[in-house]
Structure formats: structure tokens, C-alpha cells
């Protein structure tokens, strides 16, 4: 049983002249988009190009400031996501809208049926049948928190199919999948499209756009730059349209002799937030003057690894050492003292405190330095902050205003500035360029390379394989809490890395 296949015009989606503004920026500037039923259409652009905003409008989460939306030939004005769902729009978000403690069937049913009683068996069977029809392997009575990320995403797709969506939108769906899972997803997408539905997916990855989309619309800085059939284009063209100039696929990275091992991790084990093991017997070493990358699909232990090294999460086994000194039992303050700098993924949260100003945030790592007995030397703190802000080109209206008002790039620069100002010998950096525009990304990458050249040992965790390949000397691949292999970046084979990301062991460098 598949869910009701839509009629010939049902899947047609047309967005015309969409404008959406937020304080300070125009997210969508007069954007048009037309997708036909039966088509797989990619929405391509860098972070900040306006892709998610546009789809949020189509899915009813936002109201456009101007422009029209039509689905199946009829003009629509969605006042809530629910209305969009009823009109046949199904969206699979980047951050899944699933209720963790409930089961797959309960999540699929949420808001989709109006019977008073929860009739368990019958509905579970319906969900199972639906899953079967699309090749989605998932157990209807499993609780969401027990499922892998890929499985959870498939539950999201099931939800849309259950509601007989005529338009399926996927937001960066492969961000959390291995290359093999991504291929499986593409198969599902094709099947759905073949029934006459429209499939729109948001991506910033050229490879997959070329692989699965029929047509692609490129957005840049809020505007629609082009719409083409993928058959009529190639990666280089698309990249140019996306970025607006010739793109260097590799950042210039000089050769550098690495020194002695500085950060070593041996047999490290740790438990995740849900009580399940997150790290299993992880052994790595980062040498002075090298960047060791950690590749892997998000959720395979990378975050827990950085937290254990920083002292924010206890290890259940193994040890961590810096410069030969065992810091496994050390507090975060002691690790900072041992020369550790940490730029967490969670910039405005663990890294910086959004409601406090630059000075207060810089003081976070150097509280003792600015103390005079019990009292704070406010003058010194302000001077030091001012220097840092100048040196690292952080643009802010005032050192006292909450840092949440700064742009993403400046926040990251401030965070990095603060960490580097302590002149750490070891730097652990997670997702440093996520969500940043091209200018800020280049600046951050340059800073990291500078540190490496100056002899700092850098552990770089990133979901962007291109970034890792261009910045790192060696790359470790993590899968389900284990290190599958470590390879030299110089001769690395993307497919080999992809296989390791999916769980098959590879060579060790």
C-alpha cells in the first residue's frame, strides 16, 4: 500500500516574487521557484543564501513579506505549518521534529488522525506497510531515541508520506548521513518523485545535486541567480553561480614538518547524554605543528571527544595527555593551564555567553589575570579586550553590548581570538566555519593554518570533508565512537574516507 498518489497537477509548486526580511538583512529578495510534479529539484546555495527561509515559507513556518505561493495551481496563504501540511506540503527539517520518548508510530500519527483512542496494533501495521512500500526499514514500535540519525530521518519522511504529501521538502538531508545512506535516500526520493510528487531538496553540496536532481535553482545572498537542468551544467559552473567568482577548491597550504606528539588520547571511552556509549577505545595523537582532522557524520562521537578533551565530560576509560602530562582527571581550569584552547561547536552557549558583552566574555578565560585580590581590574580587562578585537578584526558596535548582536563570523572570530590570546599549545576546534559567509570562513581557515605553522597542535572536527581535505595534514575518521582509520590528507581518497565513515575499517597512516 502506498499513500495516495497525487493527480497530475497536484505536485506543481510555484513561488513568485517572494520577499522576506529580518532585522538587518533581506533573506529572500524577489525569489521565483517553479517545481513540477515528478521532478526532483535542488535548491543550491551557500550558508545564508536564503534556501531554508524560502522553504520555511513554503512549509508555512514563515509568512512572506511579499510574493505569492501556489500549490497544485491554487494560490495559498499559509498561516501555520498545519495549513501547509493540509495543503500537501511535507517537510523534513534539518533538526528533526520528533518526540524522543515516543515511538515511531506515535510520532507518525501525531496530529494526523483524530480518533480518540490510540489503537496501537492497527496503526502500527499501517505504518509498517507504508514503510515497506518505500523501502524504508524501521520498526514502528521502536522509540525515537533508540534509532540512529539516519533512521530518524526516514521516520520524518514517513510522516510526510502518511499525510499524503504532494510536495516533499528535505533540508540538507545528507548532512547527517554516510555516503551509502545518502545513496539509499536518493533512491527513496526518486521513487517518491516517480509517483508524480514534487521533491525539493536543499543542499550546498555540488556532488549530490549533480547526482540526483533533475533541475537546480541557485540562490546567492537572497537572490535567485539561475535555474537550470543539471544535465545542462557541471560542478564548476554551479560553484561559480553559487559563489559568484572562480572558486578555489583548495586553500593554499604549505608543507610543514610536524614535531613531537603533543595531544595524545589513549583508549578513551565515554558515555553520551542518553546513557549509551559515545566513545569506544579511541586512540589518537596530534603532533605539534600539524592539523589532525576528525571526519565523520555528525553524531558519531566527535562532539563527545572534544568535550572529554576539554574536561566537560568524564571519560569512562582511557587517558588524555598534553605534552606528556596526564590530564585525564584535570579540571577544565587545569587543562587551560596546560595550554589547551577549545573552540566548541556551540559558539553562543559553551563558548561565549550571548547576553554578556565582549569584555565579560574575554574575561571568561582570563579571570585570574584580571583579578586584583577580590576585585576585578576593569581597566585592564577593557584594554586587553580592545586589543584583541583590533588584532582579530572583530566588528562590534561596542565592547559592552551583548555579543548575541554580532554576526556569526564576528562571534567566531571573537571566540577564536579569546582562545588564541592565551597562546595555547594545543587547540581543539569543532565546526569552526559552520554557518559563516565566505569572507569569515577564509579568515578563520587562515588563522588555523597560521597556528599550525607556528607549531600549535590542532585537532579539527568538521563535517565539511572539503574543509578537512584542504586544511589538515592527517584525517581520522570516526564512526559510532570508534576511530576507523587515520589517513594522510595529501593522497586521500574520498571514497575510502566515505567507506570508513560508514563503518568499514581502512588503512592507518
Amino acid at each position: 500500500m502506498s499513500s495516495r498518489a497525487p493527480g497530475p497537477t497536484d505536485g506543481a509548486v510555484e513561488l513568485r516574487g517572494i520577499v522576506k526580511r529580518f532585522p538587518g538583512i533581506i533573506a529572500n529578495d524577489n525569489v521565483d521557484l517553479t517545481v513540477a510534479g515528478g521532478e526532483v529539484h535542488a535548491l543550491l546555495g551557500e550558508n545564508g543564501a536564503g534556501k531554508t527561509t524560502l522553504m520555511s515559507i513554503l512549509s508555512g513556518a514563515y509568512r512572506p513579506d511579499a510574493g505569492t505561493v501556489s500549490v497544485g495551481g491554487r494560490a495559498m496563504s499559509f498561516r501555520s505549518p498545519r495549513q501547509a501540511i493540509e495543503a500537501g506540503i511535507g517537510m523534513v527539517h534539518q533538526h528533526f521534529r520528533l518526540v524522543q520518548p515516543l515511538s515511531v508510530a506515535e510520532n507518525v500519527l501525531l496530529g494526523a488522525s483524530s480518533s480518540f483512542r490510540l489503537a496501537d496494533k492497527a496503526t502500527e501495521d499501517r505504518v509498517a506497510e507504508l514503510a515497506e512500500a518505500y523501502g524504508i526499514r524501521v520498526n514502528p514500535s521502536a522509540k525515537i531515541w533508540q534509532l540512529s540519525v539516519g533512521e530518524q530521518q526516514r521516520v520524518e519522511i514517513l510522516k510526510a508520506l502518511f499525510r499524503e504529501a504532494s510536495v516533499l521538502i528535505l533540508d540538507e538531508p545528507t548532512a547527517v548521513l554516510t555516503p551509502q545512506e545518502a545513496t539509499h535516500l536518493f533512491t527513496i526520493m526518486r521513487k517518491i518523485a516517480s509517483e508524480g510528487r514534487a521533491v525539493i531538496f536543499i543542499s550546498h553540496k555540488l556532488d549530490e545535486v549533480m547526482a540526483v536532481a533533475d533541475r537546480v535553482t541557485v540562490l546567492r545572498a537572497g537572490r535567485r541567480v539561475a535555474t537550470l537542468a543539471t544535465g545542462d551544467s557541471n560542478k564548476a559552473d554551479l560553484a561559480r553561480l553559487m559563489v559568484g567568482r572562480e572558486v578555489m577548491f583548495r586553500v593554499a597550504r604549505g608543507d610543514h614538518e610536524a614535531g613531537a606528539p603533543r595531544l595524545t588520547v589513549k583508549g578513551l571511552g565515554a558515555t553520551g547524554d542518553l546513557g549509551l556509549p559515545a566513545l569506544r577505545d579511541v586512540t589518537l595523537e596530534v603532533r605539534a605543528g600539524e592539523i589532525l582532522g576528525v571526519a565523520g557524520v555528525a553524531g558519531n562521537g566527535q562532539r563527545e571527544l572534544t568535550e572529554v578533551i576539554a574536561g566537560l565530560r568524564p571519560a569512562t576509560s582511557g587517558e588524555v595527555a598534553i605534552g606528556g602530562r596526564d590530564i585525564s582527571a584535570a579540571t577544565p581550569a587545569e587543562r587551560i593551564g596546560a595550554g589547551l584552547g577549545y573552540v566548541p561547536e556551540d559558539r553562543l552557549g559553551t563558548g561565549l555567553i550571548p547576553s554578556l558583552g565582549c569584555i565579560a566574555n574575554v574575561m571568561l578565560k582570563r579571570t585570574d589575570e584580571f583579578a586584583r585580590g577580590f576585585f576585578i581590574n576593569k581597566q585592564a580587562a577593557e584594554t586587553a579586550t580592545s586589543e584583541l578585537v583590533d588584532r582579530f578584526d572583530v566588528k562590534t558596535s561596542s565592547l559592552h553590548d551583548p555579543v548575541s548582536l554580532m554576526s556569526g563570523g564576528n562571534i567566531q572570530k571573537l571566540l577564536l581570538a579569546r582562545e588564541l590570546s592565551a597562546e595555547p599549545g594545543t587547540l581543539v576546534v569543532a565546526q569552526p566555519t559552520a554557518g559563516l559567509d565566505v569572507g569569515a570562513t577564509e579568515a578563520i581557515r587562515r588563522l588555523l593554518l597560521e597556528q599550525r605553522d607556528a607549531g600549535v597542535a590542532v585537532l579539527l572536527v568538521s563535517e565539511d570533508l572539503d574543509e578537512l581535505l584542504s586544511l589538515c595534514d592527517r584525517i581520522a575518521v570516526m564512526y559510532e565512537g570508534q576511530v576507523m582509520g587515520v589517513v594522510d590528507a595529501a593522497g586521500a581518497d574520498r571514497e575510502q574516507i566515505g567507506l570508513m565513515m560508514a563503518g568499514s575499517a581502512g588503512a592507518r597512516a
Partner: protein, 381 residues
């Protein structure tokens, strides 16, 4: 789905940086609105509005006696509010200021009854220490439970209030009973050496000075010391504080001790300056009212002073209400109403209301500098 009718709908738009003027206006507006609401309530309940407000005024600011009483009521409030403020700043919900107040009074009383003949400066200082110690100990228990066992402090601090009051009640009925009190048991009166002296020839005692000093000290701690900075950081973002190396457990215990000590001094000052003995009812809820005062004052030690004065006036005014046959419970209701409006008003400080025509109008917020604002723009645009 048809286009919606062109009705204006209110939208909440976040203000980027609320101005001081807005903040003040909203708060003053809240107090005014609360009084209006109270007047309406009285009207509906068939009570005369005029006499009520007149009584409130005359009881508090309308006479020299009233003014003194107002200050006397404000003094213990300052201490409990400071106690609450410093804990709430760190998101430590110390609801036990009432119990810590009582236990501080117990501590001070123990000293006063043990060494009644000591010279006044020595005895009074020892009593202050006794009060601090009593309050601190009473706060230490829930503080330690929270710091080391992760037990949420809301219920323990609160239940310990009842226990502290029962404890003092017990002492007043047995060991510390004044043999001359008939019927209703009272504690033995304090000696002159154990009594805080008056200020000049007013009815106000030197506890007022101690209160001012306490507010000043806390203000300095919060603004100028590293401890105050750590408290602020932990309250704003625990994770970042942890990463910065601040010991959360040590700060929880430290802040609870300070909080309890402050409430405890309040207890000492009340029994030594105003009541002159230990007795069962030394607080008409100072610990709880302190929560309202601290919240209204946005946990600022200096703002606590005028707000405490206002609420002291309400308490004294409430006593006056009884002369026209109304229970002073009305004052609790008024206090609660003021805070309700102030809390609700907070929304207006951070957001303003815009009337928009849906889906057609094009004005967003004026752009300003034209830079992206991650706080408002959702991730992954």
C-alpha cells in the same frame, strides 16, 4: 486556503536593546496598574476604595510614627531581599529565606540568652555573627544537597521554612519561655545590652545602618569582584562557566551560605532591634515578600532599597487596614498583583507590539546597520 481577511493582527517584534527608559516605564506602569486592579477588586468586593487607600497611606507615610514603622518593616525586607537576589542571580531558587531568617534569629537569640551581661558592642557583634551563622547553616543543608547530590533546592528550602518556624516555636514554648508571659507564650525579653540602639530619638534602630551597609557590600561584591563576576556568569550560562573553569559546586555552596547569612542577619536585626525577644511570630512573611522585592528590583542591591521601602509601607499600611475592619491579607494580594503586572510587563520590555496586515505589508524592522543578527535570524537561512 483563501487569503486571510485584511484584519490587523498584533505581532510581537523583539527589541534589540531595550532602553533604560522603557524598563523604568514598564515597571512604574506595573505598580500603577496593580493599584488600579486592586481598586477594581475592592469595588467588586463591596469594600470602600477611599478608606482603604487612605488607611494604607496614613499607616505608612502619613505620620511620623507611620514613617518609622515603614522603615522598621523595610529593614528585615532588605536583608531577605538581598538574600534572595544573590541566589536568584545564579538561578539558585532559594525560597528558604524565611526559614533562614528564623534560624538566624535563633542564632542571635542563643547568644543573647547565653551571655546577656556582656557589654553591648561585644554582645551585639556576637549576635550578628550568631545570626549569620544560624542563617548560613540553615541554607547550607539544601545548598549542599544541590551542589553534591543534584537535589533541586526549591522544595527543600521551602520545607525547611516550616521546620525552622516549628523549631523556634518549640524553644519559645519550652527552654526560652518567658515565665511572665501569660497564656500566649513569648520568649524571655532581651537585656539592654542585647538590644540594638535607636538612631537618635527616632523609633528606628541601628539595624537600618546595618541594612544599608549590607546592600552596599553586596553591590560591591556583585560589580567589582571576581566572585560577583562568577555568579553572573554561572547564572547566565552554566556550561560556559564550567568550561571557564569555575567550580559550580563551590559557588553553589558559597552563594547559599552568603544568602542564608544575609537572611540570618535580618533575623538578628529584627529580634534585637524591633521585637527585643525571641517569639513565635517574628516574621509576617519577610522571606516570601523578599522574593517579590528582589524580583521587582531586578536583583540589584541598590534598587532593593527603595523597593523594600515601598513594600515596608504596604506592610505597615496593611496593619492600619485592620482598624477599618479589613484583614491585612489584602496587602499580600496587592503585593502579588504588583509582581504579576511587573512580570507580565517584562514582555513589553523585550518585545514591542506591532500591528500588521498579514502577508502583504513589506516593512520589517528598520535595518539599522544592515548586518545579520543571528539572535533573531534562524539558523541555516
Amino acid at each position: 486556503m483563501s487569503a486571510s481577511a485584511a484584519t490587523l493582527r498584533p505581532r510581537l517584534v523583539k527589541r534589540l536593546l531595550p532602553s533604560r527608559v522603557t524598563r523604568l516605564a514598564v515597571r512604574v506602569g506595573a505598580v500603577a496598574a496593580a493599584f488600579v486592579a486592586a481598586a477594581l477588586f475592592l469595588l467588586l468586593a463591596g469594600n470602600p476604595i477611599g478608606p482603604v487607600f487612605t488607611a494604607l497611606w496614613s499607616g505608612s507615610f502619613g505620620s511620623a510614627y507611620g514613617q518609622a514603622q515603614t522603615i522598621l518593616a523595610a529593614i528585615p525586607l532588605v536583608f531577605t531581599s538581598l538574600a534572595v537576589a544573590i541566589a536568584f542571580r545564579m538561578l539558585l531558587w532559594n525560597i528558604g529565606a524565611e526559614g533562614q531568617f528564623y534560624f538566624g534569629a535563633f542564632g542571635a537569640g542563643a547568644v543573647a540568652y547565653a551571655w546577656p551581661e556582656w557589654p553591648a558592642p561585644l554582645l551585639l557583634t556576637a549576635m550578628v555573627l550568631g545570626g549569620m551563622l544560624g542563617g548560613a547553616i540553615w541554607a547550607l543543608v539544601p545548598g549542599a544537597l544541590r551542589a553534591y547530590l543534584g537535589v533541586n533546592e526549591i522544595v527543600p528550602t521551602l520545607l525547611l521554612n516550616y521546620v525552622a518556624i516549628l523549631w523556634v516555636d518549640y524553644l519559645v514554648h519550652t527552654v526560652w519561655r518567658d515565665p511572665e508571659s501569660l497564656g500566649f507564650p513569648l520568649g524571655k525579653p532581651f537585656t539592654d545590652e542585647a538590644t540594638l540602639p535607636q538612631l537618635g530619638d527616632t523609633a528606628v534602630h541601628t539595624g537600618a545602618i546595618i541594612a544599608l551597609i549590607a546592600a552596599g557590600v553586596i553591590a560591591v561584591i556583585l560589580r567589582q569582584t571576581t566572585w560577583g563576576y562568577k555568579i553572573k556568569v554561572i547564572g547566565e550560562n552554566r556550561r560556559a562557566a564550567q568550561y571557564a573553569g569555575f567550580s559550580i559546586t563551590r559557588n553553589i555552596v558559597g552563594v547559599m551560605l552568603l544568602s542564608g547569612a544575609l537572611a540570618g542577619i535580618g533575623g538578628m536585626v529584627e529580634v534585637s532591634g524591633t521585637v527585643h525577644r525571641i517569639q513565635a511570630d517574628i516574621s509576617p512573611g519577610f522571606g516570601y515578600t523578599g522574593i517579590i522585592v528582589a524580583t521587582l528590583a531586578r536583583f540589584s542591591p541598590l534598587l532593593i532599597l527603595p523597593v523594600a521601602l515601598l513594600f515596608g509601607a504596604l506592610i505597615t499600611g496593611g496593619v492600619e487596614l485592620q482598624t477599618i475592619g479589613l484583614p491585612s491579607d489584602i496587602v499580600s494580594m496587592l503585593q502579588g498583583t504588583i509582581l504579576f503586572f511587573a512580570l507580565a510587563g517584562e514582555l513589553l520590555v523585550h518585545y514591542r507590539v506591532e500591528w500588521r496586515r498579514p502577508a502583504t505589508s513589506g516593512e520589517g524592522e528598520p535595518g539599522g546597520e544592515g548586518r545579520a543578527l543571528p539572535g533573531v535570524v534562524p539558523s541555516g537561512t
